[in-house]
């Protein structure tokens, strides 16, 4: 029969169901935070001329630390970025969860694969700090 019958720990179906719910909760939470930030932004700046987006000039809100600080003081754009950060963190959480699930199944080859994916994700999020080029 298939692999699943020889595995210990939670079944693949169970793992996938939990992951599915995790993703849904992440998306709903981030959408709500973005919406809250958006409403605050429109209430405060709604009548202002709209931001120039026809030429690329890097934004100031570029680091997780800075975003958290802005969001904590309930600045609207900071809140929006916090929601977006939550959204980006959702798939990362999914991968972390998968590491644990494969470990429970004693599937060490897949623990290794998943850790590889996780390290690429963390590298992407934090490499700016390592090279010193990212704002802090």
């Amino acid at each position: 029969m298939s692999e699943q019958h020889r595995q210990s720990g939670p079944s693949d179906e169970r793992v996938e169901a939990v992951i599915g719910n995790l993703l849904r909760i992440g998306v709903i939470a981030s959408a709500l935070v973005v919406l809250l930030g958006g409403v605050l932004y429109l209430m405060r700046d709604g009548r202002q001329p709209h931001p120039r987006l026809d030429r690329f000039e890097p934004e100031e809100l570029r680091s997780p630390v800075h975003i958290l600080r802005e969001a904590a003081s309930l600045r609207s754009l900071g809140l929006i970025m916090l929601g977006l950060l939550l959204l980006i963190a959702t798939p990362v959480t999914r991968v972390i969860f998968s590491v644990a699930a494969f470990a429970l199944q004693r599937d060490y080859m897949y623990v290794l694969f998943t850790l590889l994916v996780l390290s690429v994700l963390l590298y992407s999020l934090f490499s700016g700090y390592l090279t010193g080029t990212g704002p802090l």
Partner: protein, 277 residues
């Protein structure tokens, strides 16, 4: 135009893009980028906003796909090694490639994606012999059919891996999910059943996009004022599209929308060549 009107306009456009993306199976990303460029938004901001909406739609849809029991997390996780590395490569290339060239590449990728997804037919999958590498990687599994669970064997793993790296590259370069190429790699190259390919592809898109998002964030591509209406609009539009898909006659809809897709692709190529970005 003030902030309120601008945000409303973008939100309506994003809603339409998400709807169109869900109905055509192309995803919201490939539709929202040309739309934003058409509205005069710099392509870097456009792909940044699109990428974020890709994570939202992929993660939002995953929960309902999971219930059906088609997706294969081992195939997904193994191939995500390739897509995330590709995404990093693509995200770094954005800084080097000129906006005009980006626009042209985008146009051609959009044409290719549209062609791939309209051409795709579920492949008849017979009783094939197991592949040694796939067996060692424990990629083989089974999926539900009306006649009970049907097991399948995965083939040509190295080819699939390379195609996934390319798909990841395009995703990182253009801020799209590149689902069409992911499905091609799994369904055609690796001979994975169509339903398993599409659902597993959706599962992988979020993680691939997250690998790009970190680099985009540092580069300042993610503008909150623009991304807010784009993310919320595309998410709502794609959820709506998924509902309509369940009971609508999609063949006619697809034909109508393929004209829209074609126009958007040509617009990107034209803007790239004329330098009107």
């Amino acid at each position: 135009m003030n902030v309120l009107e601008f945000t409303g306009l973008i939100a309506v456009g994003a809603l339409a893009a998400g709807f169109l993306g869900a109905l055509t199976g192309l995803g919201g990303g490939v539709v929202i980028v040309p739309l934003l460029v058409l509205l005069g938004v710099d392509i870097h901001y456009a792909i940044g906003a699109s990428l974020v909406s890709v994570i939202a739609t992929s993660s939002g849809a995953a929960a309902s796909y999971v219930k059906e029991g088609y997706s294969n997390i081992r195939i997904g996780m193994f191939l995500e090694i390739a897509t995330t590395l590709g995404a990093l490569t693509g995200a770094y290339l954005v800084k080097i490639i000129k906006p005009e060239a980006l626009s042209i590449i985008f146009g051609f990728v959009l044409l290719m994606s549209a062609y791939l997804s309209f051409r795709q037919r579920p492949r008849q999958h017979g009783t094939e012999k197991p592949d040694r590498l796939a067996t060692r990687l424990r990629l083989d599994s089974s999926y539900p059919t009306p006649e009970g669970r049907l097991s399948y064997h995965v083939h040509r793993v190295p080819l699939g891996f390379v195609l996934m790296y390319i798909a990841g590259c395009l995703s990182g370069l253009l801020g799209i999910g590149s689902g069409a190429l992911k499905v091609l790699a799994m369904d055609q190259a690796m001979r994975i059943p169509f339903k398993v390919s599409t659902t597993t592809s959706n599962f992988m898109i979020g993680v691939t996009a997250a690998a790009t998002a970190g680099v985009y964030l540092h580069n300042g591509f993610i503008n909150p004022a623009l991304t807010m209406p784009v993310m919320l609009g595309v998410l709502a539009g794609s959820l709506l599209g998924a509902q309509v898909l369940m009971f609508a006659q999609t063949r006619v809809l697809r034909r109508v929308f393929s004209v829209v897709i074609l126009a958007l692709a040509l617009q990107m190529i034209y803007k790239g060549f004329t330098g009107r970005l």
